[in-house]
């Protein structure tokens, strides 16, 4: 089995074994009472003959000792923390690299139902970045664009860049995106930020912008026959964690009635984790109505509206109707 966290002695022993020829390895292992790796599966099958129920009280002892060594809820190998600001800036850099990689005819390919070609999609993003700067500016907060539909609000930028060449559109977008990053750093990070029909703070907007750039990166990749962009685990863990925190709000935003119950989300994969989400008036003592197990990245794609919830592989233990309602609501804050 893979062994990334070996003790020094164990590492040394394995290195010594590796230095031996196959026959010598087998001899060395048998000499010390272990079994050669190539025969270990056959050896393990012998354990079937000795199966015996353990004392009932052992279960609690075992689980308690395990939780003492690694607290529940914490992934085995959590990615390094990543702030929304860092995530947004890394995603801007990724998106700029994607645009730089496009061929001339890629820009005319259809990338989005509403935004049209790749070029028009990037022009839409120029509009989004300009709106974001206005929303974020702590000294001159703009009401322009607030409560305006996401698509309609960026129409002026798309019209303005209609005759521009792709390089100009890409440069305008990148300049506007870095202006967002710059203005986001200024002022009180907890200040309320109004955008479209939502109210959040600076981090909320940066997380949503990260989701949007990732989503449009997928659109462009699909349109131009490129591999889907994969964000690093740090970003995905931050985004999935924020998504989990927003689940009650998403259900409320959609007007979905919920029970006073807790939902456990077990998000699998390198960016995964275990999240206990209280709904309604539930608290930490409220029983779980549902445990939903699914891949962290796939769930984020659902939240970004780049994977239909119907296509999401998941396992639900508990209230199946609640599982459907939750999954139907996770994309509540996505704005194409």
């Amino acid at each position: 089995m893979g062994a990334p966290n070996l003790e020094p002695d164990e590492q040394a022993a394995l290195l010594a074994l590796d230095a031996l020829e196959a026959d010598e390895q087998a001899d060395a292992e048998l000499r010390h009472g272990a079994f050669p790796a190539d025969l270990s599966a056959a050896v393990a099958a012998l354990a079937d003959a000795t199966e015996l129920p353990p004392p009932a009280e052992l279960r609690g002892r075992v689980l308690a000792e395990a939780m003492r060594r690694r607290p529940p809820g914490r992934p085995a190998n959590p990615p390094a923390p990543c702030s929304p600001q860092e995530a947004f800036e890394r995603t801007v850099a990724d998106f700029a690299a994607l645009l730089a990689d496009l061929e001339a005819d890629d820009w005319d390919r259809t990338a989005h139902d509403d935004h049209g070609t790749v070029k028009d999609l990037v022009a839409h993003l120029v509009g989004v970045e300009r709106l974001s700067v206005g929303w974020l500016d702590p000294e001159h907060p703009s009401e322009e664009g607030v409560a305006v539909d996401h698509l309609t609000a960026t129409r002026p930028a798309i019209d303005e860049l209609h005759d521009a060449d792709p390089a100009t559109v890409a440069a305008r977008w990148e300049r506007a995106a870095w202006a967002v990053a710059e203005v986001a750093r200024r002022g009180d990070q907890a200040r309320p930020v109004h955008f479209h029909d939502l109210i959040g703070d600076v981090d909320t907007l940066l997380v949503m912008r990260t989701f949007e750039l990732w989503a449009h990166g997928m659109d462009i990749a699909l349109a131009t026959d490129r591999p889907l962009p994969a964000l690093d685990d740090e970003r995905m863990a931050m985004m999935s964690g924020r998504l989990m925190a927003a689940v009650p709000l998403a259900l409320a935003f959609r007007g979905t009635p919920v029970p006073d119950a807790r939902v456990r989300f077990v998000l699998t994969g390198a960016a995964g984790g275990t999240y206990d989400v209280p709904l309604g008036a539930a608290d930490v003592d409220t029983p779980f109505a549902l445990t939903l197990v699914t891949d962290a990245v796939a769930l984020c794609r659902v939240a970004a509206r780049r994977l239909p919830a119907a296509a999401l592989p998941f396992a639900a233990d508990g209230d199946g109707a609640l599982a459907d309602a939750v999954l139907a609501a996770v994309d509540a804050f996505a704005r194409d």
């Binding site: 393990a44 003959a49 004392p55 809820g73 992934p75 194409d336």
Partner: protein, 204 residues
Amino acid sequence: MVTNRRARRTVRAVPNGAEPSDASLLARVLAGDETGLAAVYDRYAGLVYGLARRVTRDAYLAQDITQEVFAYFWELPDRVDLTKGTLRSYLAVVAHRRAVDEVRRSERRSRVETTTFTIEVTEGPELEVVDAAACEWRRQHIADVLAKLPEEQRRAVSLAYYEGQTYVQVARTLGIPEGTAKSRLRLALGRLRVLLGDELGAVT
């Protein structure tokens, strides 16, 4: 994006009550879901405890080993690679190694205290009464497979696996040269691998 976005809120229903796969349980453990560990325990505690008890012949040591195996699994679940073998095989290998370590420690203590060294020879795996039908089937299946080995190979395997003996000790117990003990063990395990065939998942 060119997709049918109108279909995005159609959520497929997933039937409840299906037994989660080992891969699903491992993913849950990796994510820090303690109920995933509880499910793994419920599925494999009998395997780990029974093996530890058989090798150590000590119920209390077997409980300690069982605790250690599952706590270790929870602490370092990324050591399990299901592309190379099953979770069942992995836990059995870890349990066996821990149990053999305990036997060795006990032997050292015994030598120091009494300067005598005796090992009880058995003819095969202990036939414990296990209530679960699946356990009974597996136990009988392995017993049937072991019965197909030549007697001298079966004894060598029993001593090495169920008693935790090295091949040097097997040779001493059976009164045969070390080289003969070693070759019997390898022949027996190779034959077992053939007899068990596709049932096996490799574990390294």
